[in-house]
Symmetry: C2
Subunit: 170 residues, 2 copies
């Protein structure tokens, strides 16, 4: 088992799914004759992030998880996206960054000491960081982004959240 | 790396977190003088599950993921919970079931062939099933349950979603 597949491959697939959700949002806005920016700035609670910021947060978790498990510094992104096209470009940038990794970058990642910016002086092992922090946080933002769209009537279902599966014949 | 920690330990911690969320829901309902069943039957979209069903679905994903990776048949639960106490009892039942597993039950789990009820004739490896299906689906229901409460004003924050972390000194 390597930490490459559950990070690089799974995050890349989920970012592909995000693009499907955003295309469905654009289609819904067009069919109802309102500007898609209404959806992009919608939120489920006044003190939660709106859709753009949920997607940015998921993008940041994906890139930083891969980078830190591989012992690299993640690229910085300025969170300036406003339009749907800009948000899709941000997603594409992160997908391109994830595509620079190979399984070899993740050798020994499970035992790598990962520091947390909000817990100075403490570290987690790579595998604990992935399962206790990175994946829960990534899926938190992914699900909240999806839920904002579902709450506003966009036609999506669970299969658009899960995406394709790696199957073999039984 | 074993699949015991990312399933048994992480699901158990998240189920503890669910109890915190439900206690906060009860406190919120009491402070606003309404019945907590209003929250338990709230949903984010007319064609999404309400809170009770989100928790039941997360409980089922937790128990079935552990069971199937360990080559066991999961216990059946009838989804009859209506009250807060009944829902907390369901969570406790699943936590008790998870506590019956040891790391030894998960030896070879990563390569075990896992069938999917909705994809007859196909299988996934244990590790792919965990990362492509079980964890995304568990966190989907966990985050949606949490979001239903946040949407309705319950005082929760990200730390109540993530819970405690396994830390060491740097």
């Amino acid at each position: 088992m390597s930490l490459y597949e559950p990070t690089v491959l799974q995050f890349s697939k989920m970012l592909n799914n995000f693009e499907v959700w955003l295309d469905a949002a654009a289609e819904h806005a067009k069919s109802k004759n309102f500007d898609v920016s209404v959806l992009l700035t919608s939120r489920l609670a006044p003190d939660q992030f709106h859709l753009i910021r949920q997607v940015q947060a998921a993008c940041d978790q994906a890139k930083s998880t891969a980078a830190r498990l591989a012992g690299q510094d993640p690229p910085k992104h300025a969170d300036t996206e406003v339009t749907l096209d800009e948000l899709k470009a941000r997603i594409a940038t992160v997908k391109s960054y994830l595509a620079t990794f190979t399984p070899a970058h993740f050798e020994g990642a499970e035992a790598r000491a990962i520091s947390l910016p909000f817990l100075p002086g403490k570290v987690m092992t790579g595998v604990n960081f992935l399962h206790e922090m990175a994946l829960p946080n990534f899926y938190f933002h992914a699900t909240t982004a999806y839920a904002i769209l579902r709450h506003n009537g966009v036609a999506l279902g669970k299969q658009h959240f899960i995406g394709g599966l790696t199957l073999a014949d039984a």
